[in-house]
Symmetry: C2
């Protein structure tokens, strides 16, 4: 086990203690712990970081609380279009999918792209054809992903847009979590072989249209892994994560300036990304099992688990 | 004018003098010069680098010799799906489109995304709906982009695949230019205000399927610009350009390690990208008007033009 460790996030945003009931808080903490444990059990059993991050992300895709898989947000047209990406730090291989509609576990398809396709990123119908050609079953109907909670978020967004026709032309950083347009899930891990991996999956933005693709399937933006430096999964306003190349930038600061994981993650999230106008956070891990989870907004669903079984869970900004 | 300068590429690959007729070589050189001049005239008249890179790229999109716009390669299904990206080094704003089918000038739509959309990357039908909603006319039929030359490339690829069913599951680095699956056009410029910009446009890969998206619309992979460092447009095997974060990596080496433009471009293209298994090249420019155009394959259609009107054009590897 040695330096094995895993960290996860379930999205970041304006998550306030005042808008959270004790029941809901508990449900989130249970969901985070289940996800962490799923990945940790694999690491503990001598499994790989690639398998561990998949297991943790799948657990959140299957949990309706998080914006990925079941519980994904609705698009403008009342459907779902999901993105996912996985990076293998040992080989620097990458697989990603964008705008898939009927794939039960987008992160599992991303891994299939990494393993079976010569390509890095497949989108839309073509990605689903690839899934089927490789023996993956699609859900019969998109309603598989529907939840009342997310439908209400779409109705809220559409109503807001009706009042203000320009509402959909702005990126919304300010909505409280109840009506947040964003959300992502992700995991980073290091295994006993010293290999790091990162995985991210998301339903994207509520009320999205025009084939918008966010940061999640963009290598170096929402997801990155390199054994030389670290593995990173980002969450927040995707357009700024892309412009800031947030995940790769943390790696570059470690490689080129010799910063530690925690220094590099802080510089990128709390300074560079923030100055660009971006709001969100990251989880990051290095080969030594160091973990950083900075965020520059009010909260981030997050958790980490070390080789000795120590668990840390968090939702709000507890940095005082 | 001071440090104004512009550089362009029209794709890289196994471009051999032995497989080029004098007529064809001349046609390419004329096309490169027309593209350079279109951008240069704008810079000379006090225009911006953003306008200059658009003008240069549009000239190549309209030229059937290059794999972008008219003359774009065919997909597996005999259609066209084009990608483009533009980065403004002054603001770090970005606009990109992926898999657009009926957009005459994908780079012009990418700029429209930068200017009019809150998003960074729009794909497929959604991107075209956005184009129409913003007053852009689409071509009535995809045949607008057809050329016999590219159709023969598709037929060649399909025939090859018939003989070897696994052919389409491999990335092809080795085909000579006649049958090359790849190709891209791009421009980088610095204007008299000291602002840099980068633009890239491509028809993608011949015989592509499964909604494959390459490096061109991926910020930091195929295209990047930041006044602090440089503007870059890459061409070559997209999957490796993405995995290597080629464009942003050049910028990061300048910012974090203090390398010059030419040192950084050489380290990334001739060492890191090459060691990853990638083949291709970049054009890069900084605020001082320095230009680097390294490539690690047999040739790259390329050219540069300085403030004093000095033109350099190249196709083959003339480095001896």
């Amino acid at each position: 086990m040695s330096n094995c460790a895993i960290a996860i996030h379930g999205g970041a945003g304006t998550i306030l203690r005042t808008s959270m009931t004790p029941e809901k808080e508990k449900a989130y903490l249970v969901g985070l712990k289940e996800s962490l444990t799923a990945g940790y059990e694999i690491l503990k059993g001598g499994g790989t970081s690639m398998d561990a991050v998949i297991a943790s992300v799948v657990a959140m895709e299957n949990n309706p609380l998080f914006n990925a898989g079941v519980g994904a947000v609705f698009t403008h047209d009342g459907g779902h279009e999901q993105d996912a990406c996985i990076c293998d730090g040992a080989t620097k291989n990458v697989g990603a999918v964008a705008a898939v509609k009927r794939v039960k576990s987008p992160i599992t398809l991303a891994r299939l792209v990494l393993e079976k396709s010569p390509h890095v990123l497949l989108a839309g119908d073509g990605a689903e054809k690839f899934a089927v050609a490789n023996g993956m079953e699609l859900v019969a109907d998109q309603s598989y992903f529907d939840t009342d909670f997310r439908r209400k978020q779409l109705e809220f967004a559409l109503a807001k847009e009706k009042k203000d026709a320009t509402a959909h032309t702005q990126l919304d950083h300010s909505d409280d979590n109840e009506n947040s347009k964003m959300g992502t899930v992700g995991a980073v891990a290091v295994d006993e072989y010293g290999n790091v991996a990162a995985a991210t999956s998301t339903g994207g933005m509520t009320n999205k249209r025009h084939g918008r693709i966010g940061d999640t399937p963009m290598i170096g933006a929402g997801t990155y892994a390199d054994n030389k430096t670290c593995a990173v999964s980002a969450t927040g306003v995707g357009e700024y994560i892309m412009r800031g190349m947030v995940s790769y930038d943390i790696s570059a600061l470690m490689e080129y300036k010799g910063l530690s994981l925690s220094e590099a993650a802080d510089v990128v999230v709390m300074e560079k990304f923030f100055e660009l106008g971006g709001s969100g956070g990251v989880i990051a891990i290095d080969r030594q099992g160091n973990i950083a989870m900075p965020f520059n907004c009010k909260g981030m669903y997050r958790g980490s688990m070390l080789a000795d079984g120590t668990i840390e869970l968090g939702i709000f900004d507890d940095r005082g």
